[in-house]
Symmetry: C2
Subunit: 653 residues, 2 copies
Amino acid sequence: MAFASAAAVHRKVGQLGEHVLRMTTRAGAGHPSSAMGIAHLAVRLMYEQMRYDPASPWHPSADRLVLSEGHAVPIIYAAYADLGGTVGKSASDARPLTVSDLDSLRARSSPLDGHPNPAEGFPFFDAATGSLGQGLSVAAGLALGARLDGSPRRVYCLVGDGESREGQIWEAADFIAEQRLTGVIALISANGQGQAGPVSVQQSAERLAAKLAAFGWNVVTIDGHDPDAIASALEFVGQHKQPLAIVARTVKGWGVETFQGANWHGKPLSEAELPAALASLRKQTHDAHPGTEQVGRPPAPIAGGNSRRGDPREVSWPSFRDALESAGMGGLLKKGLIGTRRGYGAALKVAGDLLPQVVVLDGDVSNSTISEVFARAHPERFFECKIAEQNMVSVGVGLSAAGFVPFVNSFAKFIARAYDQVEMAAISRANLKLVGSHSGVTPCSDGPSQMGLLDVAYFRSLTTVRGDDRVSPIGWLFHPADALAAYKLTQLMLSTHGLCYMRTHRPEVPLLYKDDATFELGGFTVLSPGDDLAIVTAGYMVHACRQAIELLARQNVRAALIDAYCLPIDGERLADALARSGGRALVVEDNFGGGLGAAVAEVAARRGTGQVHALHCQRMPKSTLTPEDELDYVGLSPGHVADHAMSMLRAAR
Amino acid sequence: MAFASAAAVHRKVGQLGEHVLRMTTRAGAGHPSSAMGIAHLAVRLMYEQMRYDPASPWHPSADRLVLSEGHAVPIIYAAYADLGGTVGKSASDARPLTVSDLDSLRARSSPLDGHPNPAEGFPFFDAATGSLGQGLSVAAGLALGARLDGSPRRVYCLVGDGESREGQIWEAADFIAEQRLTGVIALISANGQGQAGPVSVQQSAERLAAKLAAFGWNVVTIDGHDPDAIASALEFVGQHKQPLAIVARTVKGWGVETFQGANWHGKPLSEAELPAALASLRKQTHDAHPGTEQVGRPPAPIAGGNSRRGDPREVSWPSFRDALESAGMGGLLKKGLIGTRRGYGAALKVAGDLLPQVVVLDGDVSNSTISEVFARAHPERFFECKIAEQNMVSVGVGLSAAGFVPFVNSFAKFIARAYDQVEMAAISRANLKLVGSHSGVTPCSDGPSQMGLLDVAYFRSLTTVRGDDRVSPIGWLFHPADALAAYKLTQLMLSTHGLCYMRTHRPEVPLLYKDDATFELGGFTVLSPGDDLAIVTAGYMVHACRQAIELLARQNVRAALIDAYCLPIDGERLADALARSGGRALVVEDNFGGGLGAAVAEVAARRGTGQVHALHCQRMPKSTLTPEDELDYVGLSPGHVADHAMSMLRAAR
């Protein structure tokens, strides 16, 4: 690498810093002081160290920058505009960013969102950041993808000292060290200031360096505003077997006197303050470091790597029977009892056979989620993320940005550990597949700490919002009742771009569907007709409700059974189906409310016709010895369901 | 401390181990191998080191044990039964646990849940564990409470090596070191085995010790099955200014040959395997260490500390005006624009004046959440948790168990970081108050990474389940529209035991309520009547909807405006109110669906009368320069609301 003189870097910082001050003042919002703290690091990285072409942000092997402390983004925007980098949501609407575009910071029509977000048209970034502590995991996912592709890509990640208090940073530090992902270079900006006050001594430069070393990293500590020191540190890149962390002592609001003294956080200068601030910055940069040398342009990306991808909609899937055989679970068919997680495991294994971009992550429970079947067949594409779900989900976001289709697995309950990361994945429009096993109350004797009880309400909320096509939802929820449904819904997840969540359960259950069953987005299945009322349910509860229907039949009640395996549900079709069942629906789910019951109630209430009762867990579960006992405890036994149906019918008469 | 001989400890381990093996086999579930890994540590702690009376689990200054790796709980149950410890949900149903009770492990009627849970009648524990990595934070909260009370209580926390991959463990390590909470003693059991395979080298005993040292802890590494080594390590307790961590090398399934070799995780022995396992254990314990000496009983708790508490229902609150004055915000009244977060901040400050048990935690955003007002007035009860929300919430759970009322603050978006911890708080029945500021789309120019968009759906789900009285919900959601409502709803949260979430917003808004306004659980306010339809909304959207109502009035439509400030909502009363507005409701909320709209739709659909349309964010937000522009972008401007109302009315005609 040829690095320009320190003076040239200072002058570039001066030039970009002016943009930062002006654009945030113009927007009336933003974090100019945080931006100035990383200005010298950004210049060295974006103009000299990173091997990329600003005009080709979608280049498959170009180096990447993840700005974990997303609020510092104005300096990145300024540099990218100065370099004429490409913006746009896709190649078809691509155009170079100009310096005058910077004035549109945070505006409705601008690709320059308040925090990094590739989805709004800033493809220099790979994932949305701004909720802190997630970037290092995203960087790990990108680097993992590069390794799988054999690409020389390196991933630089800028992390703040304050945000390094987030545990996820240390989950990522463990993961990167364990996987020896030397393609990730972490740069920690230690400016000593948080939002509400100084950062803790626990996040001092010294302590951060000591921690990173204890986590197995190679650590260099430098003055983050000394261009020569930055250059020297960057020369370590690629030299060691351990991942490299550069701890940079920085100054929040570097170069601008107004920002010094009291902690200046998250607000722009007023128009009145601007001139003095610009003068002060100029003094620190152009005046203190006169000269004419310019920093150069970034070196071209190194070509290399083989990014094989298949089209999920064009592969030919084996029959369910063959898939089970292929996954070593053929014997289960004879027994006739197969849990949904096993159907999913078989699908995962076959998906790995068919599509090179399928990768699987698990959090030390692959023998429970049954992702272990994939791990055995495709060990090079299986990543054991250990008990650290936040990092796992964000690594998945990085892998998605690298063109892979990550299936992220844990208990439904433990995926909740990463709901903020899931939301950032949705904001990033990541192509992420989440699968939560042991959903609902079926883990029974383990007690509520192992049960997924809020997952349906949470993910259903994501399904209520439209994605960029203004038609598809931003997220999908799938909830198979048997192993065949799980097998086919996994295929559907794979061919549906975007965020998908599937909920599997623990118990072994009989097959309800035949090989030729079809499952579609927004679909549901009327498993048995009935004109008195419809019982609408999904997943494990379909089995309990089959028993309820038998109990009702003995009382001469004809109840339909509807398997609502997908949310959002097609409201028109559902309303028609309910009309054929007396316009009455009893919705049953083994989780807390606000899930399927709310979805069906909204369909009916929107029309103002029909009656919907939502029956869900009536109380907090506790340990019981069997799933049947648990259902009884929480008020969801077949008897409870049948009784509730009878009371609806009695009231209607 | 007088420690018994190593042989006596081994024999006690043998005796308790027999119970562990038998009870898990009988239950057909459980983690006997994990339990045996901490057997010697448990004996030294529970019989000798901890200063407590097993008959008095609610003693205010007794030492406590937090079992962070909750699945290892059978050994604790065995020891507690051997000691005749008290079980029961309260003093009124207290009774001693017997050895024969152990056979009820995980049964429906048993206090011995599959994972630790005080709420089911095991008061030896303070909080539910089982979702990993949370216990050390709970221990920190307990120790913080003890410090506030001036109590000599010490808190021992058993952590697994596998779970120490969770970032939250390191958030807790930072917090404890920073606060110098030497009352917490961490014992890390490093058995080298996870569920699906061996733990990572990143979680080896050596590396864990190095990490803890880098985090500022005093670390001792020992053989966790050597009673003398354990005793020596425990002698360090209270000797240092830094918190103490004991890294114990342990063997999963210690003493039982069947458990060795392949990793034996999370399953009991069969009845057939039991005899050989018992014999093997006996050989390792009683046979290898013959003798008659017995380990003793735990030393009595050290009295001390002053636990002053007030009754929130009996204090007399100042007027809103006086509260604002007292909080240094009196000037706002003249301006006439006051954000809900400011009303909350004033309430918090006054609550601190009135009630010594009110404590406040914030995650480096106290100048945004306005908890800074409390921090200034009551610095000794304000805890800056920095940017580590998971630890913050679990510290709150510990403080709640210590008899305090913690208010936990962050942006609504960042509280999502700790939703799994929130759920564990609900399982623990913690008296926790969570307040999320910057809710909905009001952070506008900051973009979606800073917006609370799924919080209403998530917390609403918690409100659908009944608590132990089978009447009250397990959680409440409050959503004030103005600062006075925020002031009074904070009072309501304080007098309502259990989990409460309040959602505040960023913009300054006019006051809608007068001083004499009342707010009640399940309540709502009809701000203006109207017989054509009702607009039901809450929080910031009340203000946007007031404009919509004016737009409608110009078209001669009389729309009622209902402020639904609490969930769950009183369905009977709401149905009556809707009936007075033509049976039509348009529900408006500036978040994703599944929240208030779902709640109102469920009320209507349950009766099968009336029509409800749920209007929420129609798309993923992006940065815009003003809240008005953001509402327009996501389809929620006053114009959108009015148009939607008109289309409902047109369709009805």
